[in-house]
């Protein structure tokens, strides 16, 4: 019983991290209709920014975290203005933009490997303090991971409901051509989406890098988990992404317990195929009307 509860707690923490990553992916996919593969590259970049500031430049953790967020915002702005926006201006198809995004991811991955090597880099080699409640173990970094990521997810969810800019950004995915027609600043809204997506990937990426270290080839696996959570929860439902993330993380934990750690990746894709086949609109997504299909 204790083991099951322990796995549920681990699943909740992991779910909060995946929820943030799902938002980072989902926002771009929902609003700009870009399958944002470069997000995997952004994940790695964040990890190495944080590693550079903490382990190489020996800055204090809060300052390093602030600088990492800033550097990620700049990287996101460069990505939007040098890659995504020029393609959007040329009205390129989503397939072309996806390929470009994949290219960015590969460039980032290889550049990092060239600069830092392919081996694991640990930001902190000290053991994290562990708190034990009734036999259940939670480390300090796990608490931070849960509190920071879950709060960021909830706050952004509320902003998307209330803030007019976010409302426009959300609507842009359905009618992108209406934004300039209505006199709204298209480029600014795009920049806003990319900036928020960059921040939302920066939080879990920096925390994970601090927790377990970073290497240049982990981006794709996190990207896949995030994208599966979005499709699982429902592309059009912000809260669905979070639900998808938590269920996915819990499933992974339970599979690890009942079967073996080797099946954890597989369960992610079984869920994805199951959803795409039987509930394409996602767990809490609304089914489309016949004329919309």
């Amino acid at each position: 019983m204790i083991l099951l509860l322990q796995l549920l707690i681990n699943g909740l923490v992991q779910g909060a991290l995946v929820a943030c990553m799902a938002v980072a992916f989902g926002l771009v996919y929902r609003s700009l209709r870009i399958f944002h593969i470069a997000l995997g590259g952004m994940f790695i970049l964040v990890g190495y920014f944080f590693y550079t500031f903490v382990a190489l430049l020996h800055l204090s953790t809060p300052i390093a975290a602030g600088l990492t967020l800033l550097a990620t915002l700049i990287a996101g702005a460069i990505l939007e203005s040098c890659v995504y926006y020029p393609f959007a201006k040329k009205k390129s198809t989503s397939g072309v933009v996806m390929l470009a995004s994949l290219g960015v991811m590969i460039i980032i991955e290889n550049t990092i490997a060239l600069l830092f090597g392919n081996n694991v880099k640990s930001i902190s080699v000290d053991l994290e303090p562990t708190y034990i409640f009734y036999g259940l173990k939670v480390t300090r970094i796990q608490l931070y991971e849960f509190l920071i990521c879950a709060s960021a997810f909830v706050i952004l969810g509320l902003l998307i409901r209330k803030n007019p800019y976010f409302k426009v950004a959300w609507a842009m995915g359905d009618q992108p051509r209406l934004v300039p027609v209505m006199g709204l600043p298209l480029q600014k809204i795009r920049q806003l989406i990319i900036a928020v997506s960059s921040l939302m990937i920066a939080l879990p990426a920096a925390l994970i890098a601090y927790d377990v270290g970073i290497e240049p080839h982990v981006g794709m696996s996190y990207l896949l988990t995030a994208s599966v959570a979005v499709f699982f929860g429902g592309i059009d439902k912000y809260w669905g992404w979070g639900l998808g993330a938590f269920i996915l993380a819990l499933c992974q934990s339970i599979v690890s317990w009942k079967f073996s750690g080797e099946w954890v990746s597989m369960v992610t894709f079984i869920i994805l195929i199951f959803v795409l086949l039987f509930k394409p609109s996602g767990l809490i997504g609304n089914s489309k009307r016949l004329e919309e299909k």
Binding site: L3, N119, V125, T139, E215, S221
Partner: protein, 370 residues
């Protein structure tokens, strides 16, 4: 006047290029005095870090050998990216360049090309651990087998730690599955409880797995693998409160500075190589390597260097015919190398001194069993 200048320029150009061509012709390396070794090494992809070190080690050795002898060794590298598909195309590319011998780094590339090499009777010198490779009549393995590493772990754990409850956590690849199976078979008679768990190297969240491992209440956990998930498992075991003994494989040597410092024991099986060693031969090699390449070699760099040293020694004593070299290398016995005396056994495996090391509080290693 203009015509004379142009004419003079043409004469000068012909003299310069003609002279250079003549010099190159006179100093050309004929096929008879160059042995071409085709090396399949991952210089890009996730294993590039090791691959680049292996290239440095082979270059250093070839340079030393070429300075001493009339017959030169030329190493031609192809990047196999540590994938089966790229290994086969890299191998074909090497074949088209008239390579005499093939050196391959790692289990996966070796397995990808072994059937082609066998079909065409091309000798293959592998730096791999999996024992199934050695069934091929064209393969000689230039690194200790997974059996050697596994047996050294078993004898250490069994004799020195005498545990009652052991859990083996291993990566899901052929070599580690083989090692786990062997360990479980060996522990069957001496340990009361033995469990094993596999991990997927693409999954970084290892806490569920570690929680499950700790639920068995082991006194010894043996962790076999490499990469970031492997490192995370080693650290998370301690973070989750495991105070027993952790035993692991030679991959610890390259990540020992990334591991959490705890008062609890961590041992691993390794070669004599260490970057803080007192052994003069290794110290000398370290200094030479650092001066030339500006970095420290890893355990696997050293093993590649020693493996290639056995190969080049066999080239010296055979008459530069590939199958002679293949036969000759199998006669290697107590060859003096930086990692101690090296022998190729009757199963075509390299045998070299294997030790058990313990991680010290300052992050260095100490040999506890030879």
């Amino acid at each position: 006047m203009k015509k004379i200048i142009v004419g003079l320029c043409i004469v000068v150009l012909i003299a310069v290029f003609g002279g250079r061509a003549l010099w190159l012709y006179q100093h050309r390396e004929t096929d008879t005095n160059v042995v071409k070794i085709g090396a399949l090494v991952p210089t890009s992809g996730f294993m590039a870090f090791e691959g680049k070190n292996v290239v440095s080690a082979l270059n250093l050795l070839a340079e030393k050998m070429n300075a001493k002898r009339d017959v030169k060794i030329k190493v031609i590298y192809e990047d196999d990216k540590y994938t089966s598909k790229d290994s086969v195309s890299a191998f074909r590319k090497l074949q088209s360049q008239g390579v005499d011998l093939y050196f391959v780094y790692g289990d996966l590339p070796a397995k990808a090309i072994v059937s082609i090499a066998q079909e065409q009777k091309l000798p293959l010198f592998a730096m791999a651990e999996s024992k199934e490779l050695n069934d091929s009549p064209v393969v000689v393995n230039l690194s200790p087998s997974s059996t050697d590493w596994t047996d050294s772990i078993f004898s250490f754990v069994n004799e020195m730690l005498k545990p009652q409850n052991v859990v083996i956590v291993h990566q899901k690849d052929m070599a580690h599955v083989e090692s786990t199976k062997r360990l479980k078979d060996k522990f069957k008679d001496t340990v009361q409880v033995i469990n094993s768990e596999q991990f997927d190297p693409n999954v970084m969240e290892v806490r569920p797995l570690v929680s499950k491992v700790l639920s068995y209440k082991p006194d010894v956990v043996i962790v076999l693998g490499y990469g970031s998930t492997y490192t995370a498992i080693l650290n998370t075991l301690r973070e989750q409160g495991f105070t027993g003994t952790i035993v692991s494989d030679p991959n610890v040597s390259s990540i020992k500075h990334e591991l959490a410092k705890t008062p609890y024991p961590l041992y691993w099986t390794d070669t004599l190589f260490d970057d803080n060693t007192d052994i003069p031969e290794i110290k000398e090699f370290l200094a030479e390597f650092k001066e030339k390449f500006g970095k420290k070699p890893s355990t696997f760099t050293m093993m590649s260097y020693v493996g290639a040293q056995a190969l080049m020694n066999a080239i010296q004593t055979a008459e530069y015919k590939p199958m002679d070299i293949y036969n000759n290398i199998q006669q290697t016995k107590d060859l003096k190398t930086v990692l101690g005396p090296v022998t190729i056994d009757k199963n075509k495996w390299m045998k070299l001194p294997i030790v058990i090391k313990q991680l010290q509080p300052d992050g260095t290693a100490k040999i506890v069993k030879e």
